[in-house]
Subunit: 393 residues, 2 copies
C-alpha cells in the first residue's frame, strides 16, 4: 500500500510517500515557515522542487503537498494518510482519524501547545485536500502507555494526575517501538522474550527500558524536556534551579514563558558549549581543543549513562542496548563514552566495530562474549505507514 | 573532648553535648518556635525540662541552651562548639569558624534561604553566650565536593555555573560520610578501596555513589529538592510540569513562591497519599488496604531503585548498599521493595535478617553469597563532634 505520511508541526508540514511493500520512500519533502513566508522543498520520481511561496496557514501547506504529488503523478496511487502526533494523551495505540479523535487531540493542547493544534488542523486539511482517503493517527506517546503506575507517577499531589493527567508520558515512542522490532530481528529473538534499552539520540533524545517487547520506563516525562541533555533542552534539572534563576534574574527570566524558553531553547549542548547544538560541530571542536565543547560532551555522555542506569533497573536483564537517531546511529564518540561509563554492567566496546557503526558486524559494536550493544537506523515514517496500512485494511 | 553540637534552623535550635571519647550524647534537646512562642525541651544527667517561654530571636534560644547546660553543670566541661551547616558553597571540608566563614555563609543565603542566615546568627550567638570556646562549621555539602564536573553540571547555559554557582551540591553529606566509614568497619574493608551506594532515607532522602571512599555522584542537587520522593518534597520532576501547573492554576500556584511551596511542602509521600508524610503511618495504612498509601509506597520504592541505578553507573562495582536514616534503619518494607526492584544487580533479601534490620547478622540483610546490603545507624552529631575535635586540637 502507498501511504502519505504527514507530520504537521507548528510552522511546518513534513511529508513522505511510503510504499509499505518495498518499505521505500517514493517522495518526500517539507513546507516550512508557515505563517511567515512559505518555503517548500521536495523530491520525487519526477524531480525536485525548491521555492518560496505565500503560505499563511496550514491549508496552503497541505495544498502545496497535494500539488506536488499531482505533479509527480502520485496522488492517485495513495490509498491512505498516516499522521504523526506528538502527544496521544489517553491513546495507547494508533487510531483511525475521526472527529472524536481530532477533538480529543485539540482538547489536550496544553500538553503540547505547539504541536497538538497543528496536528488537528493538519487532519482537517488532509480531509479537504485528499477527500475520501482514510486517515490514521500514530501517537509518539502510545508505545509508553504500558509503563506501570509506579514508573509514570510523579511525587506531586495525586490530584494533578487524577484531574489534569500530569504523569510521565514519554516521547519518541514510534522510534523506540520501531527499533525494538528491528533489534529483535538483528538479535534473532522474539520481542515478547527480549529485554532492551533503546537509546534514541537526536536533537531530542530519550532512552526506554523494554521488557519483553513492552516499554516499562522511559526518560522523557510529562513533556519532552525531561531526562537526557539534548540539543537545546536541559533535560532533568533540580526544579528549584528555576526558582533561583527567576528570583535572581527577574527581568531576564522572571516569567514562566521566559523560563520555558531558557530550558527548552537555550540549554542543553548549546547552552553548555556556548557554541552549537549540533553533535558534529561539538565533537569536531572538542577534538581541536575547545574546552567548553568537551564539557558539553562529557555532561551529555555522563547523563546518558546515568539515565540508562536508572531505567535499566526496571529490567531483569539487558539483552542489548540499541543506539538510534542522528547521534546514536553516527556518533562513535558518544557510543564509546556512554558504554565505557557503563562499566558496572560490563560493556566493552569493540573499537573497530564501533567506528563502522556495526555496519560490518551485524550491527554489533561490543566485543564478542560481552554484553551486547547494537546500532539500528530508526524509521518512524515507515512505522507510521505500516500502522496506517494495518488500520485501514 | 566534650563538644556542644548546635543545629540552628530557621525557627529552632537543636543541640547535643557529645563526649568524643565515649562517643555518647550526654545531654540533648531543642528550642523550637523561635519568633512565635518559644518552647524548649531537653534532657541531661541532672534531669529534664519541657516548658514554653518567650523566645523572639535565636539569641534567646542559645541563651536558653546555655542556662540548661549551666543547670546541668555541663557548661564548664564543654571545650568546643560544632555547628551543622546545610550549605557549604565552596567549602570542601569542615572549617574553624571565623568572621570570614560567617560572612561567606551569609553570602550564599540564596542557596538555602531558610538555613544559612540562621547558621550565621547561631555562630554569632554562640560567640556571645559561650565566649572563648573555639567553634567549627561542618557542612552538609562538603562530602559531595569530590564529584567530577560531568556529574555536577546541569544542562543549562554554562554562565549559570560560572557566575551563580548553580550546580549539583548534594546534601546529607555528613550522614553519607559517617555511614561510609561505618560500613567499611562492618565490611572489614579500607575506605580507599571500597565502593558503596549509601541511601540516607529520612524525611529528606538522598543516595550517594562512593568510589574508594569519595563521593562521585549523589541524587540531591542544587537544593535538597531533587532526586528521591521524600516526606513532603517531590524529588525529580519534569520541570515543564511547573510551567503547566502555573498556567492552568494561576491563582493557586501562579507565583514562584507558591510553586516552591507546592513541591517542597505539599508533595512527596504526603501529596501522593493524601494521608501523611510519615512512613510508619503509610506502611500501616497500606497494610490495611489504603490504596493511595500503597501508591505512595510503590512510587517511593520505585524511584529509590531508579535513582540508585542511575548513580551506581559511576562505580565499577558495588561492595554494598548501605541503608540509613529513619526509614533506611527501620523500614524493612522499603528495603525489601527497593532491593527486590534491583533484580538486574542481583540483590536477594534475606527476609529474616531484613526483619531484624541486620541486628543479628552483622548488619547484613541480603543472603550469603549474593550482593551485600547492610543497615547502619547514622550519627551526624557524633561526626560533627569528631570534626570539631580534630580541628580545634
Ligand atoms: N556523523 C555524525 N556524527 C555525529 N553526530 C551526528 C552525525 N550525523 C548526525 N549527527 C547528529 O545527530 C543530531 C540530529 O539527529 P536527528 O535524529 O537527525 O535529529 P531529530 O531529533 O531532529 O530528528 C545532531 O546533533 C547531529 O549533529
Ligand atoms: N520503625 C519504622 N518503620 C518505618 N519507618 C520509620 C520507622 N521509624 C521511623 N521511620 C520513618 O523515618 C522517617 C523520619 O526519618 P528521620 O531520619 O528521623 O528524619 P529526618 O530527615 O527528619 O532526620 C519518617 O518517615 C518515619 O516514619
Amino acid at each position: 500500500m502507498r501511504v502519505l505520511v504527514l507530520n504537521c508541526g507548528s510552522s511546518s508540514v513534513k511529508f513522505a510517500v511510503i510504499d509499505t511493500k518495498t518499505q521505500e520512500s517514493i517522495a518526500s519533502g517539507l513546507v516550512e515557515n508557515i505563517g511567515v513566508n512559505g518555503h517548500t522543498k521536495a523530491k520525487g520520481p519526477e524531480g525536485k522542487i525548491d521555492f518560496n511561496f505565500d503560505c499563511p496557514t496550514h491549508a496552503e501547506a497541505v495544498d502545496q503537498v497535494k500539488k506536488f504529488l499531482d505533479a509527480q503523478k502520485l496522488t492517485d496511487t495513495i490509498e491512505a494518510i498516516g499522521h504523526r502526533v506528538v502527544h496521544g494523551g489517553k491513546y495507547i495505540k494508533s487510531e483511525k482519524v475521526s472527529q472524536e479523535v481530532i477533538d480529543y487531540i485539540r482538547s489536550i493542547t496544553l500538553f503540547a501547545p505547539l504541536h497538538e493544534p497543528a496536528h488537528a488542523t493538519g487532519m482537517e486539511c488532509a480531509t479537504k485536500f485528499f477527500p475520501g482517503l482514510p486517515q490514521v493517527a500514530v501517537f509518539d506517546t502510545a508505545f509508553h502507555q504500558t509503563m506501570p503506575q509506579k514508573a509514570y507517577l510523579y511525587g506531586i499531589p495525586y490530584k494533578f494526575y487524577e484531574n489534569d493527567g500530569i504523569r510521565r508520558y514519554g516521547a519518541h515512542g514510534t522510534s523506540h517501538r520501531f527499533v525494538t522490532a528491528e533489534a529483535c530481528k538483528v538479535l534473532g529473538t522474539k520481542p515478547e522474550e527480549t529485554c532492551l534499552i533503546t537509546a534514541h539520540l537526536g536533537n531530542g533524545s530519550s532512552c526506554s527500558a523494554i521488557l519483553n517487547g513492552q516499554c516499562v520506563d522511559t526518560t522523557m516525562g510529562f513533556t519532552p524536556l525531561e531526562g537526557l541533555i539534548m540539543g537545546t533542552r536541559s533535560g532533568s534539572l533540580d526544579p528549584a534551579i528555576l526558582f533561583y534563576i527567576a528570583k535572581k534574574y527577574g527581568e531576564e527570566y522572571g516569567t514562566i514563558d521566559k523560563l520555558d524558553h531558557l530550558v527548552n531553547k537555550e540549554s542543553g549542548l548549546l547552552g553548555l558549549s556556548g557554541l552549537s547544538n549540533d553533535m558534529r560541530t561539538l565533537t569536531q571542536a572538542a577534538s581541536e581543543g575547545n574546552k567548553r565543547a568537551q564539557i558539553a560532551l562529557d555532561v551529555f555522555c555522563y547523563r546518558l549513562t546515568r539515565e540508562i542506569g536508572g531505567i535499566a533497573m526496571a529490567l531483569p536483564r539487558i539483552d542489548a542496548i540499541v543506539f538510534t537517531g542522528g547521534i546514536g546511529e553516527n556518533s562513535f564518540y558518544v557510543r564509546k563514552q556512554a558504554l565505557d561509563n557503563l562499566k558496572l554492567l560490563g560493556y566493552q566496546v569493540d573499537e573497530e566495530r564501533n567506528l563502522k557503526s556495526g555496519k560490518e558486524s551485524n550491527h554489533l559494536i561490543t566485543k564478542d562474549g560481552t554484553p551486547k550493544a547494537i546500532v539500528v537506523a530508526t524509521n518512524e515514517e515507515l512505522l507510521i505507514a505500516l500502522d496506517t496500512e494495518a488500520l485501514v485494511k
